[in-house]
């Protein structure tokens, strides 16, 4: 493999990682502040994508579509938080798993009922489509570069939000000591709703951005959910920094595994077997990574809370 291809694959890994970060950030935020395992995070991702597709079809504007995705997912987040989620904070993880599993069923089939059984159309806007040539001669899709940019901006925004704003102070307080925020005179119930909506909005944004280069269809949230969980567990649940590190690690591992393993096995195996076994192993690779990280560091890379 040439150096240039390797460089491009590294970029792909980074890009995939940032994409994962977009989907994982909200999940880890919600877990960190409220201690809630939200399996329905993938559904909020789907809602974002569907809202974007619907608005893009009606208005023709991608920007409007992205805003709609954020709004729709946040609205769905608030609705779900008020009706269901807030009753679950005091419960154990089992109840949370079951309840949010139920939410997946409702959201998935509800979406299918609203939008039908067929995938929807959502495309990259013209001004972001096609490749650009990077220094070194790599042709790289502009849209993927945009995703990297947006992802890093979101990461920066979250860091600033948590480090510099009043909401951030409350969030940090909520992470370390739930009784303290009550003592600070913060309306916990409202804080939780806001944080949940923020997490949902992030999922929705990810749904719109990623939906444009993937398939907008019912069930698109589940694989994303599993990956997002892998990412935040590797990073240490509740840590934004960990989510970023975990996403990039997973992105690189997955991409490089897919790119390199079949070739590696080809060095000492029949090509057909090498392709098959290399691919099989590469599809297991991120789970192997997660298991190894947890065996070495049982609370993830940046995790504090057991």
């Amino acid at each position: 493999m040439s150096f240039l291809l390797l460089a491009e694959q590294l970029l792909n890994g980074l890009q995939f990682g940032v994409m994962l970060f977009l989907t994982a950030a909200g999940l880890t935020l919600v877990f960190g502040v409220m201690g809630l395992i939200n399996l329905a995070h993938g559904s909020l991702f789907m809602i974002g994508a569907f809202a974007a597709a619907a608005v893009a079809a009606a208005s023709g504007s991608f920007l409007l579509a992205v805003m709609a995705s954020i709004a729709a997912a946040a609205a769905a987040g608030v609705l779900v938080e008020v009706l269901v989620i807030r009753r679950l904070y005091a419960r154990d993880h089992l109840d949370q798993v079951l309840a949010t599993f139920a939410l997946i069923l409702i959201f998935s089939e509800g979406t299918r009922w609203l939008f039908g059984s067929f995938p929807l159309f959502l495309d990259i806007p013209d001004y972001l489509s096609g490749p650009v040539t990077l220094p070194g001669g790599i042709d790289y899709p502009l849209y993927r570069l945009t995703i990297i940019g947006v992802g890093l901006l979101v990461a920066l925004g979250l860091f600033l939000l948590i480090a510099r704003t009043r909401l951030g102070i409350q969030i940090r307080a909520g992470e370390s000591d739930r009784e303290m925020i009550a003592a600070l005179g913060v309306n916990i119930s409202r804080l939780y709703t806001v944080v949940f909506a923020l997490g949902a909005a992030l999922a929705g944004l990810a749904g719109a951005l990623i939906g444009a280069i993937q398939s907008v269809q019912v069930g698109m949230g589940e694989p994303v959910l599993i990956l997002a969980f892998v990412v935040i567990v590797i990073g240490g649940i509740g840590s934004i920094k960990g989510a970023l590190a975990g996403s990039i690690l997973v992105g690189l591992t997955d991409t490089l595994g897919r790119a390199l393993l079949p070739g590696l096995f080809g060095l000492f195996m029949e090509p057909a077997d090498a392709t098959s076994i290399g691919s099989a192993l590469s599809s297991m690779l991120i789970y192997i990574l997660m298991a190894v990280v947890l065996i070495v560091r049982p609370t993830g890379l940046y995790g504090a809370r057991a």
């Binding site: 493999m1 040439s2 240039l4 291809l5 491009e8 694959q9 792909n12 890994g13 890009q15 995939f16 994409m19 998935s108 089939e109 299918r112 059984s117 067929f118 995938p119 929807l120 159309f121 959502l122 495309d123 990259i124 489509s129 096609g130 490749p131 042709d139 899709p141 849209y143 993927r144 990623i210 444009a212 280069i213 993937q214 398939s215 907008v216 269809q217 019912v218 069930g219 698109m220 694989p223 994303v224 991409t255 897919r258 790119a259 079949p262 090509p271 392709t275 098959s276 691919s279 099989a280 590469s282 599809s283």
Partner: protein, 379 residues
């Protein structure tokens, strides 16, 4: 449409005098009606029901159930339909792995299975069965046709990829069976994968002159969008599944101009097809898909057999099915010795008609094509 209702198609037409009045034939349709794969099951069901409705028959009772794309649910439904609903015929399954779970057991219990979509090689070769009919294609067929098309289009250095599961392996094997050029690369992707940046980089670096891919469902939509955006621009070849009427609208411009292989298209010039396309559009308000055409043909095959023989006379009924004496929307249609289709497979190209993305016929890839497993079938 009400699911699971016993759809006794009580049209106004009273049984015409003189026709053999038999017990109605009970059909159990197990198909995917929820979740991400529901579009395919809905299309098959709609096509099947349309044919029954058009025939005006009152002799078919259909029980429709949702398999949720889970093999064990499909098995359970098959048990229910056989043991409880006492169906004579099973049909409807979309996916190979579900068909593998249901069909062998059903035929072993003396039920006829008509496959409207999946055609795993295991059921075409050694595992063939007098009670198993495939009305769509053997899984390799469209890929073989893609290989044949690649030859005729002068493609000499293909990069090929498919998901790492049995149907994916079959796809690559099928393509390579017919394709005479070199391979620039071969990849097995993860089932359910949604991001193809790594694969696209390898394609770009491989020096290929064309790309063959088999990525059903959402995987294909993702791949096509990302391929178009990558600016690689090599000719794409693939089976019809990623260019099906129902998902083309979701792919959009990214699919325009791509050649794909199919045993059917909406502009195939025969009266049965013209009637089918018009009726489907009128009934459901959308253009029919490949899967709908297969569901429609499956129902018509069944009706043709019912006209000739009584279901209680199994041998006669099977013979009537084997004769395939119906007007297929594909034009020519007959069964080979393993009861899989012998049919022409066409080359289509994705075009835009007004606002609608659709396919037009551009040629024939393989004529009277059967499958390589037929020789292994001892029946």
């Amino acid at each position: 449409m009400k699911l699971n209702a016993l759809v006794t198609l009580a049209s106004a037409a009273v049984l015409s005098a003189g026709m053999a009045v038999a017990e109605p034939v009970k059909v159990g349709m197990i198909t995917t009606l929820s979740g991400g794969g529901a579009g395919l099951g809905v299309a098959i069901r709609d096509g099947f029901m349309l044919a029954l409705k058009q025939s005006g028959t009152t002799d078919v009772e259909v029980v429709v159930e949702d398999d949720q794309q889970k093999p064990d649910v499909a098995v359970q439904l098959a048990d229910k339909m056989i043991q409880s609903d006492k169906v004579d015929i099973l049909t409807g399954i979309v996916w190979s792995n579900l068909a593998m779970a249901v069909a062998p057991a059903a035929t072993a219990q003396g039920k006829i299975y008509l496959s409207p979509n999946a055609g795993p090689s295991a059921l075409a070769g050694k595992g063939c069965h007098p009670y198993y009919f495939n009305v769509a294609w053997q899984n390799d067929n469209l890929h073989e046709a893609a290989g044949a098309y690649a030859n005729s289009a002068g493609l000499k250095n293909s990069f090929i990829l498919a998901p790492n599961y049995p149907a994916g392996h079959d796809a690559l094997a099928g393509y390579k069976r017919m394709y005479k050029g070199d391979l620039a690369g071969e990849l097995l992707t993860k089932l359910g994968q949604t991001d193809y940046a790594s694969e696209l980089a390898q394609i770009r670096a491989s020096g290929a002159d064309s790309v063959f891919f088999f990525l059903p469902g959402g995987m294909g939509i993702s791949f096509l969008k990302q391929y178009a955006d990558s600016g690689i621009g090599l000719p794409l070849v693939g089976p019809a599944f990623s260019f099906d009427q129902d998902i083309l609208q979701a792919v959009g411009d990214a699919a325009l101009g791509v050649h794909n292989t199919s045993q059917w298209n909406k502009d195939l010039d025969n009266p049965a097809n013209a009637a089918f396309v018009a009726a489907f559009l009128a009934e459901y308000g959308r253009l029919p898909s490949l899967y709908a055409s297969q569901g429609y043909d499956t129902a018509n095959l069944l009706l043709s057999a019912m006209a000739k023989a009584d279901i209680s006379d199994k041998d006669a009924f099977l013979a009537a099915l084997r004769a395939a004496d119906f007007d297929s929307v594909r034009g020519k249609f007959s069964f080979g010795p393993n009861q899989h289709p012998i049919q022409d497979i066409y080359v289509r190209q994705v075009v835009k008609e007004g606002d609608i993305y659709t396919n037009k016929l551009v040629g024939v890839a393989l004529e009277d094509h059967s499958d390589v497993y037929a020789a292994e079938c001892e029946m």
